[in-house]
């Protein structure tokens, strides 16, 4: 997967638990856990917007592109 989700890093920086983020954003902990593992099919702009709002960060802080090594 070329897109890496750095949600756990941002959560650690903000000293926030996944459960608290889940309640604040309105997305289930299961979905956030799957997102954290970069295993989701897609992410809605509204979800990304809410996460950025709660964690006070930019989308780039959460999503990172890593080129696949050949």
């Amino acid at each position: 997967m070329a897109i890496i989700v750095n949600l756990d890093i941002m959560l650690a920086k903000r000293k926030m638990k996944l459960k608290d983020l889940s309640e604040a954003v309105g997305v289930s902990t299961v979905n956030l856990s799957i997102l954290k593992q970069s295993k989701v099919k897609a992410i809605r702009f509204s979800t990304l917007n809410s996460i950025c709002e709660v964690l006070d960060c930019q989308p780039g802080d959460i999503l990172e592109y890593v080129a696949n090594e050949i």
Partner: protein
């Protein structure tokens, strides 16, 4: 995500339909020779008893082997396998979440065995449906093994397949957060 489906063979349905048709014809033709004491009269009574038995035990997880057995000709079964790149534990919670919002009712969840049991309501097309889901580990992710068994139908007319397909679509859709 990839999945394999094992549809019930149409020939199975044709064979059982032919058997029942012959039985029915035999009963109709020999009706004048039958009376209450004739052992053949036990057949419809036995079928009714079996139906009531299935109805009573349908929500018991202990009867999983009975409903999913290939030798149980009165329950049509659809088996499928789907693999996800998500761990077993997460998929287990994900499927519970999806089932709670679907047409299925979650009856039993076993975290130790990683298995789920859900039922679909009785409708005009079906006497109900039991859905058994088992989660297995694979290299990177999990394999979901589904077995959908109708309550008392030799052929499900594709309803099991449609219900199952809808559930898969709901799981896929739920992976968009």
């Amino acid at each position: 995500m990839k999945y394999i489906t094992h549809k019930p063979k149409r020939t199975d349905f044709i064979i059982w339909f032919a058997v029942l048709a012959v039985l029915f014809l035999f009963l109709v033709i020999s009706r004048q020779y039958l009376n209450e004491r004739n052992p053949l009269m036990l057949l419809p009574i036995s079928l009714l008893a079996l139906f009531i038995f299935n109805l009573l035990v349908r929500k018991s997880v202990h009867f999983k082997a009975y409903f999913t057995s290939p030798y149980n000709i009165f329950t049509s079964k659809v088996r499928s396998e789907i693999s996800f790149s998500i761990s077993n534990e997460l998929m287990f919670d994900k499927v519970i979440e999806v089932l709670s919002e679907s047409q299925f009712t979650l009856v039993n969840e076993n975290r130790e065995n990683l298995s789920l049991f859900a039922t679909a309501k009785i409708s005009w097309l079906s006497w109900g449906e039991n859905l058994y889901i088992h989660f297995e580990d694979q290299k990177e992710g999990s394999i979901l093994k589904f077995c959908s068994a109708s309550l008392f139908q030799i052929y499900s007319w594709g309803k099991n397949q449609r219900n199952f397909q809808t559930l898969i679509e709901e799981i896929e859709e739920s992976l968009t957060v």
